[in-house]
């Protein structure tokens, strides 16, 4: 069993989606996982259709919980980025993984007046966070408009926001390029 597993594991790594050979492949980026409509809800309790979050522009998902100091430290920068790049279609969605003290989370979030929207992950740390390959917070996922994962990042330390902003710029640039390609493809199809 160990042998079988090891072979498959090595095999999967060698062929995994972010190998250099795969860059030119359609699968340059990993697909986002399948997320049910009732897994994430907005502050007012309305359920989130996940594909709606990235259809108009690239998305930054930030997973956090109330007692996580680095998460809170990162959020003020995310708020700034959300406002700064809003006109490009980019947006930040903060995913809270506290399952049982939602009142305190709401209180904290509303007081901070962040510019981005927040959603609750109804299954906490065992929910969407795990589906995106995370296990602890803060955990950041950048999502392309085509439903693929541009990058994932674990943890936050003060100053990381400088690199993160660079990455957001690259994300926006990349998504502009794929949207241009889509437009060209659509024009070609109409011409045909």
């Amino acid at each position: 069993m160990i042998f079988k597993l090891s072979v498959m594991f090595i095999f999967s790594i060698l062929l995994s989606s972010d190998t250099p050979e795969a860059v030119e492949d359609n699968r340059k980026y990993q697909l986002i996982p399948s997320i049910g409509d009732k897994e994430l809800v907005f502050l007012d309790g309305k359920s989130v259709n996940f594909s709606d979050l990235y259809k108009d522009g690239p998305l930054l998902l930030s997973f956090w919980f109330l007692g996580c100091g680095p998460c809170v430290a990162e959020m003020k920068h995310l708020s700034k980025f959300n406002a700064k790049y809003n006109d490009t279609g980019f947006k930040v969605i903060s995913v809270n993984t506290d399952t049982r003290n939602k009142g305190k989370v709401k209180s904290f979030f509303k007081k901070k007046k962040y510019t981005f929207d927040m959603v609750f992950d109804l299954n906490g740390k065992n929910g969407v966070l795990k589906k995106f390959g995370g296990s602890s917070c803060p955990y950041t996922v950048l999502v392309n408009t085509d439903g693929t994962i541009y990058s994932k990042h674990l943890g936050y330390e003060r100053g990381d926001e400088i690199m993160l902003e660079k990455e957001i710029n690259e994300l926006i640039k990349y998504n502009k390029s794929i949207s241009s390609l889509d437009s060209i493809k659509q024009v070609d199809e109409i011409k045909k």
Binding site: I2, S12, R27, G36, K76, K106, S107, G124, S135, K152
Partner: protein, 740 residues
């Protein structure tokens, strides 16, 4: 079953590589440690501490299908058993479909409503997993949804947070049905129904629950131990039928949530596999409103199923969970089946950058432990005593016991009235309060960013108090030994002893001849004795003391006191306390500075004063307090860490933790101190190699952390469940996380 799960997993990994529309994500988390550990603080005996724990979360997605699995190779892990061979490797597995309906097969980890009925989760930090293996199906529209869960599993747990391995388990099967409706945008109504069946062996009942003296169930099992031991039943059944109702709405800007759960469950009883059904209930409510710029949250809990063994019912804890290194050293012992509590949390922004937070949490048990009253009825032979007292007062008093005759003895348990909230908040030192295991915690914090978010500063004040343990295996928290003596008071309530002593000495006083004393005194003085010698000789001759004569009222009063003291000494009515309490004051401070280029410095300092009291005082009715068996430990602890993050070289952290303990008891005063220091380097490969394909392939999206030094052990808690990390000495720890 494990073989089938494994083959599905391997197939999905394989298919994901050959079929491009299948997405695959793998997360590796490796913990390696090599050093020494001690089993208790200030112990000098060390043993090897070696950890090799590897977790792989594997996610595969194809259209609406999703497969999740967790593999573990550990030899040994931080907590739990070694996993090195084939079938052990697969920790978790599930297949999910998300379409017009949602379907999940496999290990179910989910929280329904606020978790009062169904809350299954896995927490690696405490080695906790109450998930069930089965099926979850749900279907929803805009205005309603319905959810169904069925499954069973073996729930494993440890008898002591210090244990590295789970040492007990039982089987459970659960069927859950829930439906929610949203009649308006503003109202959410939910109905939950659940049936759960637990099969639990007699050795788990007696060796775990029957030794857990901190719970009502434990006490009940101890009292019925013989019955459980002598019956022929090897496996008992607890069947529970649950009905839950919840409402969420917003009225005039106030967010309101309330959930009430009725649990009819069978109580464990000796001699029958499934006992009589009894009622229990759970309630959780919360309010949130913005009042004059203050975000105010109030939460209330009342979890009252004291004889239930809960597996899936983990409602909100309703207290502020520790967020700093030293705050986590003192943790409230959450009781999910017997607890009532309040939490008030206030958030206020001052300007755009400064945040003030106030939090007050209290809790107590709903059902207290009883107190024990031992009574002894004694008859006092006052006639003989008074006769003898007239002849020889001093000897009679010294032999007071001879006049007492025990007529009857017995013991009764007595219970307590629920204390009011203020008594809990002030932690009144009263058995009517302490028997409810009170807890209170107050936190006041201030944090803010200044100078265009470059400077960060925060400071907090945390006050913590709780009764850690009321009573013990053999002792009640309060034992009252009461002696009732008949013969001392007459029918009108008059103390006949006092009356007699007063009249006796008054009579004596009148018969004393003061002139005879002075004549004798002068006589002995004239013979050449000094004044003291003359006084002694005169007193001996006339048979009374001149000082007593001059202060006869005092003398009578002292005599009465002496007799009463003798009564108390022979019949020492007292109250015997037996409890452990903990209190702490913690002050966490942190400050950080971020440079233009992304480098940053973070200083974190924390001070804690902590006291642990073992109160075994005996308080006598006379006012005397015997503190010989009690002890008090005082801890003074500091934790400091300095972190420097360099954008190219990684993050460097130096930590220093020191603790001094002073033990005060009837024995010699003990004073110990110890310190731990370490150095950590963390490197985030994601940021450095994200643009280089080869290095990204090798190291991208990964984080490496290496620690060298020593770390103090302590509790690790999550959601009210705790495990104890051993103290780590003189070694290294490595953590590597790779996001494939």
């Amino acid at each position: 079953m494990i073989r089938i799960k494994f083959n599905i997993l391997l197939l999905s990994i394989f298919v994901s590589q050959v079929y491009p529309q299948v997405g695959l994500q793998i997360t590796q988390n490796t913990n390696i440690a090599n050093g020494e550990q001690t089993t208790s603080l200030f112990s000098t005996t060390t043993t090897d501490y070696k950890i090799n724990e590897n977790l792989f979360d594997i996610n595969a997605t194809y259209k609406n299908f999703y497969i999740y699995s967790q593999l573990e190779y550990s030899d040994p892990p931080v907590f739990g058993v070694n996993k090195t061979s084939g079938e052990d490797l697969l920790n978790l597995f599930s297949i999910e479909y998300n379409g017009i309906f949602n379907l999940k097969l496999g290990d179910i980890h989910t929280i329904e409503s606020r978790g009062l009925v169904f809350n299954s989760y896995q927490d690696q930090s405490t080695d906790f997993d109450n998930g069930i293996f089965g099926l979850k199906a749900s279907y929803g529209k805009d205005w309603f949804d319905v959810s169904f869960i069925h499954g069973s599993d073996e729930y494993e747990f440890r008898s002591n947070p210090v244990n590295q391995l789970n040492d007990f388990s039982y089987d459970h099967t659960t069927t859950y049905l829930s439906t929610s409706i949203y009649p308006t945008d503003n109202i959410y109504l939910n109905l939950q129904l659940q049936n759960q069946s637990i099969d639990i062996s007699d050795n788990v009942i007696l060796d775990y629950y029957g030794r857990n003296f901190t719970t009502m169930l434990g006490r009940y099992l101890i009292l019925n131990q013989q019955g459980f031991q002598n019956d022929q039943i090897e496996s008992y059944n607890i069947n529970s039928d649950v009905l839950g109702l919840s409402l969420e709405t917003n009225i005039y800007g106030i967010d309101i949530y309330g959930e009430y759960v009725k649990n009819k469950y069978t109580k464990l009883e000796p001699g029958v596999r499934s006992g009589q059904q009894i009622d229990g209930s759970l309630f959780y409510g919360s309010l949130y409103a913005d009042v004059l710029g203050n975000g105010i949250t109030y939460e209330f809990k009342r979890y009252d199923t004291p004889y239930f063994i809960q597996t899936l019912s983990f409602g909100p804890i309703v207290y502020r969970e520790a967020t700093s290194t030293l705050q986590s050293k003192v943790v409230h012992n959450m009781n999910f089946v017997n607890e009532l509590g309040h939490q008030l949390d206030i958030n206020r922004m001052v300007g755009d950058n400064i945040n003030l937070n106030f939090n007050l949490s209290t809790a107590r048990r709903i059902e207290p432990f009883d107190g024990l009253l031992n009574y002894t009825n004694t008859i006092f032979d006052s006639t003989s005593f008074l006769n003898d007292y007239q002849n020889n007062p001093e000897t009679t008093i010294s032999q007071f016991n001879q006049y007492l005759d025990t007529s009857s003895t017995g013991s009764i348990l007595y219970t307590y009235e629920s204390p009011d909230l203020m008594s809990i908040l002030f932690m009144d030192e009263d058995e009517n309060v302490l028997s409810f295991w009170p807890y209170r915690q107050l936190y006041l914090g201030f944090s803010g960013d200044f100078l265009d978010n470059r400077l960060y500063f925060s400071i907090g004040y945390d006050l913590f108090d709780h009764i850690k343990q009321w009573g013990s295996e053999t002792d009640y928290g309060m034992t009252r030994n009461m002696y009732q003596i008949s013969g001392v008071y007459d029918s009108s309530g008059t103390n006949t002893l006092n009356e007699f002593i007063d009249s006796y000495w008054q009579t004596e006083y009148l018969s004393w001849d003061e002139d005879a004393y002075w004549q004798s005194f002068d006589f002995w003085l004239s013979l050449g004795l000094d004044s003291l010698g003359s006084h002694i000789a005169a007193e001996s001759e006339v048979g009374f003391n001149i000082d007593n004569y001059n202060n006869i009222d005092n003398y009578i009063s002292n005599s009465q006191e002496e007799v009463i003291d003798s009564v108390y000494a022979a019949t020492p009515t007292n109250s015997k306390w037996f409890y452990e309490s903990e209190n702490a004051v913690t002050i966490p401070i942190s400050t950080a500075w971020t440079f233009d280029n992304g480098n940053s410095v973070l200083l974190y300092a924390e001070q804690q004063w902590r006291e642990k009291k073992s109160n075994k005082d005996i308080r006598y009715i006379s006012g005397l307090i015997d503190t010989e068996s009690s002890s008090l430990e005082k801890f003074n602890e500091q934790y400091i860490s300095l972190t420097f993050k360099h954008i190219n070289l990684g993050t460097f952290t130096a930590t220093y933790n020191a603790e001094t303990r002073v033990l005060t008891s009837s024995g010699p005063r003990l004073e110990d101190s110890k310190n731990w220091s370490g150095f950590q380097w963390t490197y985030d490969f994601h940021q450095k190699f994200s643009n280089n394909n080869l290095s990204k392939y090798l190291l991208g999206d990964s984080r490496l952390s290496i620690f060298y030094g020593s770390q103090k052990g302590g509790l690790v808690c999550a959601n009210g469940i705790c495990a104890t990390q051993p103290e780590f000495l003189n070694g290294f720890k490595l953590n590597y996380t790779r996001l494939f």
